[in-house]
């Protein structure tokens, strides 16, 4: 049997509960946008910080004197041989690549844009490696509008050159694929000439963990996966994250990205 004291407490609860509910809802309506904005700013700051770190790694690892002098020597050879068209094209690509490396400040971009910069890089590498290098592209057109982070594909490809093609002799095969699998974007880079255990370790090293950190800032951790598979002297690195369309710069301020 309910006593008067218990009844009083119960009625007080019945009266207080809707008041608390209304206050909670009012608070949410008034401050939801600000909380979202703060969260977004926090994420953007973390992305910015990671981008700086990625740039630092890129500049340290890839725009190194070794690559720079090799490229310049290749250009010099083209000039000496009088292959003017190839030289112009090479210089043009080198200039675009350097420009991209030094002025990229966007925290996200389309996969199309990212692959465009990868092509500049590969065009220079083609001058250096000539017929030794064989590249296969397997990209689906519908995946090109997907949102991605700067240097995602570039890091994988530079790893292939740095830890395999430049170190070991033989024909260099590179397979780049980008597909949509259900709600996920899957990017895969496969290359050969990964000979020593150190090459293997270096290929899946610090660059990949930086990529994983940056992707986890945009998507939840369980939706992002980076896997590597070694088969003899071949290595395949696959990155999977949710498919989302990249918004135009104006929309970017309000809606970072959207899924449709």
């Amino acid at each position: 049997m309910l006593t008067i004291e218990a009844f009083t407490i119960f009625i007080a609860l019945c009266i207080l509960a809707p008041i608390l509910g209304a206050l909670a809802l009012l608070f949410l309506l008034a401050y939801e946008n600000r909380i979202d904005l703060l969260e977004k700013q926090k994420k953007e700051m973390a992305l910015e910080r990671d981008l700086q770190e990625a740039l630092y790694i890129q500049l340290n690892q890839e725009i190194q004197p070794h690559f720079f002098f090799n490229t310049l020597n290749s250009m010099l050879s083209l000039a000496r041989l009088g292959r003017k068209d190839e030289l112009i094209s090479g210089l043009e690509n080198f200039s675009k690549l350097l420009k991209h490396k030094y002025i990229t400040t966007d925290r996200t971009l389309t996969l199309r844009k990212e692959l465009e910069y990868v092509e500049y890089y590969l065009a220079i590498q083609r001058i250096r490696f000539r017929e030794r290098l064989e590249i296969v592209w397997q990209t689906e057109p519908q995946v090109l509008s997907a949102l991605t982070i700067p240097y995602l594909v570039q890091t994988l490809i530079e790893n292939a050159f740095k830890h395999a093609f430049e170190k070991n002799i033989g024909r260099a095969h590179l397979i780049i694929s980008a597909n949509r699998k259900g709600t996920q974007v899957q990017i895969t880079v496969t290359n050969n000439l990964v000979v020593s255990p150190k090459d293997k370790e270096d290929t899946i090293g610090i660059g990949l963990s930086n990529l994983e950190n940056r992707l986890s800032l945009l998507f939840s951790k369980d939706e992002v996966s980076i896997e590597s598979q070694i088969n003899g002297e071949w290595i395949t690195v696959s990155i999977s994250y949710p498919f989302q369309y990249w918004e135009e710069r104006e929309g970017y301020k309000d809606e970072h990205f959207s899924s449709r």
């Binding site: 049997m1 309910l2 008067i4 009844f7 009083t8 119960f10 009625i11 609860l13 019945c14 009266i15 509960a17 809707p18 008041i19 608390l20 509910g21 209304a22 909670a24 809802l25 949410l28 309506l29 939801e32 946008n33 979202d36 709600t183 939706e223 949710p242 899924s259 449709r260």
Partner: protein, 434 residues
């Protein structure tokens, strides 16, 4: 798809946390919530009423766990039919959609009964005229208004819900004092204060199952989930559960005040007793407006969900012209409303039990819907067959068991059958869905 239908079904904006809670709350504070509260109080006492509120809240918590995953897996879905289309083989997905349409029509009928009951007491001379006007508003808002208009209406509904559940109990208890109300209830209805009945425990456990079944199969709820930002869904549903539970609690406090020191003829007349107990006319007006707007929002949302399921997953899939779809849209709005109007007008509300009607079907639907939503592969007729077996076993068991046990019987039968079905097909489904 035509922009007109897209705008009708999912409106122009995505919901954040606040909007999602408001629209879900307005959808689920229904005529059933208002009218079944008296029934629960009289049959199962204060303990049963508290259990009823907790059961509703738990159902939202449960949905929060599932909805998050579904929203992420099907980012482009608009209705629950879109998910069924992906997860069931073609013929069977239509069968399941038919089942959901049937349950939707039944839920709409319950809303209309609640509204009909209210009009019997608010407008005793012209109940049908009032009820007819109410239905025209439902058609305008739910049938043709679309999600944008319903969201605006939900704002007003939630304001009225809070105004009523805060103002009326405070006024009643401050004016009369808690002690006289307690003595009045103890004198006339001492059985309400009895705690510890086994039947109450069974009632609450059955209520959790039926509420979960109702929410899980509700097209309007899923439509709101699909327009809510994925990262907000879990918290939105859990907060809705918490806030929703406060409404039956406040209504309970109000009911105890209404029946204190007096008796009543029949349970369904309690709403009249409640109106009479609110001696100040402005309080009466607030209560009636609250009932009307809550029923209007819930019924319109229900009709909107029902019509959207038909448009998106039946008409639009049959490569009909826009003109044909528009004609079918008119029919799918007007025909169910008119048929239900006739049923409500003929069958008196007193003869209708609002609690747990079709409870067996809802109980069997939970494992089926969960199986469809959670597993990765496409399924054939199994969910439909298991729902039918579960419901039949539950209904047959009512001959020897109490209705609450029969709800559990339906749930457990369907649940065990799904486990057996899954284990039987485990080898076959090891490969991921193509």
């Amino acid at each position: 798809m035509n922009d007109k239908w897209m705008l009708y079904m999912r409106g122009p904006v995505s919901f954040g946390l606040g909007l999602a809670i408001i629209t879900l709350l307005a959808r689920w504070v229904t005529g059933n919530t208002i009218l079944s509260s008296p029934q629960t109080l009289i049959q199962y006492g204060i303990a049963g009423s508290i259990g009823y509120a907790i059961a509703g809240g738990l159902a939202f918590f449960f949905l929060g766990l599932v909805a998050k995953r579904v929203r992420r897996s099907f980012p482009e879905a608009i209705t629950i039919g879109d998910v069924l289309k992906e997860k069931l083989l073609p013929t069977y997905h239509h069968t399941f959609i038919l089942l959901l349409l049937f349950m939707g029509a039944y839920a709409l009928m319950v809303q209309f009964y609640a509204a009909g009951t209210l009009f019997y007491y608010v407008l005793p001379q012209f109940p049908l005229i009032g009820f007819g006007g109410f239905l025209l508003l439902v058609i305008y808002l739910g049938g043709y208004g679309g999600l944008k208009k319903l969201t605006t209406l939900s704002f007003y509904s939630v304001v009225m819900i809070f105004l009523t559940t805060i103002l009326l109990p405070i006024y009643s208890y401050l004016q009369n004092g808690i002690s006289p109300i307690y003595e009045g209830v103890k004198l006339y209805h001492p059985y309400l204060f009895f705690i510890g009945s086994h039947e109450t425990v069974w009632f609450v456990s059955a209520a959790v199952i039926v509420f979960t079944g109702q929410i899980l199969t509700d097209s309007a709820t899923w439509m709101r989930i699909f327009v809510t930002k994925p990262e907000k869904i879990g918290l939105a549903l859990q907060s809705t559960g918490l806030i929703w539970a406060t409404v039956p609690m406040a209504l309970l406090a109000l009911l105890l005040f209404a029946i204190s020191g007096k008796s009543f003829d029949q349970v369904y007349l309690l709403i009249q007793t409640m109106l009479q107990a609110l001696d100040a006319s402005f309080l009466m007006i607030i209560f009636v407006v609250f009932c009307l707007i809550a029923m209007l929002t819930a019924s319109s949302s229900e009709l909107h969900g029902w019509t959207s399921l038909l448009i998106r997953n039946v008409w639009l899939e049959n490569s009909l012209t826009d003109k044909q779809i528009t004609r079918y849209h008119h029919l799918s709005v007007w025909i169910p409303v008119l048929v239900l109007f006739v049923i409500v007008a003929i069958v008196l509300p007193s003869s209708f039990s609002l609690l747990f009607f079709f409870g067996n079907l809802y109980a069997s639907l939970i494992p089926a819907v969960m199986y469809i939503l959670i597993t990765d592969h496409r399924t054939g007729p199994a969910p439909t067959i298991i729902v039918a077996i579960g419901s039949v076993i539950g209904i047959v068991s009512q001959i020897s068991l109490h209705s609450f046990f029969s709800i559990w019987a339906s749930f457990l039968t369907a649940f065990l059958l799904f486990i057996a079905f899954y284990l039987f097909n485990l080898q076959k489904y090891k490969k991921p869905m193509e």
